[in-house]
């Protein structure tokens, strides 16, 4: 009887508090893996791992023009840029015309944008969706991952992570 009650308690607690379904990257604390992505937006450079680890922390944002939460995230990224955060983008499975239109409509906080047409760099980073952001420190180490769109309420956390990542 006691065992039965214990079993019901375990099942009930599982039902009331579902497990966290987000897939976190196992790459936090690791050096940024090597990659080189070609440019996709006219007039803007592509992105490679060599652009990181130059003494300044940077925010690597994984996004796409076809991703709805990325539209919601755009003004927050502009706000981060205004606060002095240097942001680079990895565009997942995107086309140049769609991306140009996306940036024209939602603003462009990116210094560089690399094209990742087959999600290869996304897998290399252990990212499992768009949008996602990684803080890379001044030595080129991945120090923080943000899953999902960065909301206004997350700005202070991101700025703190970037400031702490010299």
């Amino acid at each position: 009887m006691l065992a039965f009650i214990a079993l019901v308690a375990v099942l009930a607690s599982g039902l009331l508090r579902p497990a966290d379904q987000t897939v976190r990257s196992a790459m936090i604390g690791q050096p940024l893996p090597k990659f080189a992505l070609t440019a996709i937006v006219p007039g803007k450079a592509g992105l490679s791992s060599a652009d990181f680890g130059k003494g300044q922390p940077r925010l690597l944002n994984i996004f796409a023009s076809w991703c709805a939460p990325c539209i919601a995230e755009a003004p927050v990224l502009l706000q981060l840029k205004a606060a002095g955060v240097q942001i680079d983008g990895v565009a997942i499975r995107d086309t140049a015309p769609a991306l140009v239109e996306f940036l024209a409509r939602n603003g462009d906080p990116f210094e560089r944008i690399g094209s990742d047409p087959d999600s290869r760099v996304q897998f290399t980073l252990g990212s499992s969706g768009v949008p996602e952001s990684f803080v890379i420190d001044g030595q080129g180490k991945i120090v923080h991952q943000h899953i999902g769109d960065i909301k206004a309420a997350d700005v202070s956390t991101i700025i703190a992570a970037v400031k702490g990542a010299r």
């Binding site: 897939v23 790459m27 076809w66 991703c67 980073l125 969706g129």
Partner: protein, 137 residues
């Protein structure tokens, strides 16, 4: 038409908004490797890898774009001569054991393997005690 009937019908007409890109699937997402032995290796591995966006399916079973890109990654690496074990290790390094349906034995997964043995031993003990009591009677 009665709105009570019309609304569920209208729901049928509505198309779900799918978060899919405009790019076609990667070449190796749905195309087999020319070498049948390598394709068999790749398929066997894909059936044990979790689709990261659907989570309840393997990448072999999923229609999600990301699963397609992951199949392409597995096939390309195996076609290039990498062993399935090396590809699996590469993915576990990035996503943790969560990415595989065949998790390696660790302190976290040990109860999965040990619990049945413990329960079997417990059952045997109870059975032995019951039989002994019967014999005495």
């Amino acid at each position: 038409m009665n709105p009570l009937f019309a609304s569920p019908l209208l729901l049928l007409l509505a198309t779900p908004s799918l978060a899919d890109s405009n790019l076609p699937p990667a070449r190796y997402a749905n195309v087999a490797i020319a070498d049948p032995a390598k394709e068999a290796d790749a398929r066997k591995l894909m059936e044990t890898l979790r689709c990261l966006v659907c989570q309840g399916q393997s990448i072999a079973d999923s229609d999600a774009e990301m699963a397609g890109d992951m199949r392409a990654l597995v096939r390309e690496r195996i076609a290039a001569g990498e062993t399935p074990g090396a590809v699996r290790t590469w993915l576990i390094q990035r996503y943790g054991d969560y990415v595989t349906y065949d998790p390696p034995l660790s302190s976290k997964t040990a109860p999965l393997w040990l619990a049945p043995l413990v329960l079997l031993g417990l059952g045997g003990l109870i059975a032995a005690r019951t039989f002994r009591r019967k014999r005495r009677r």
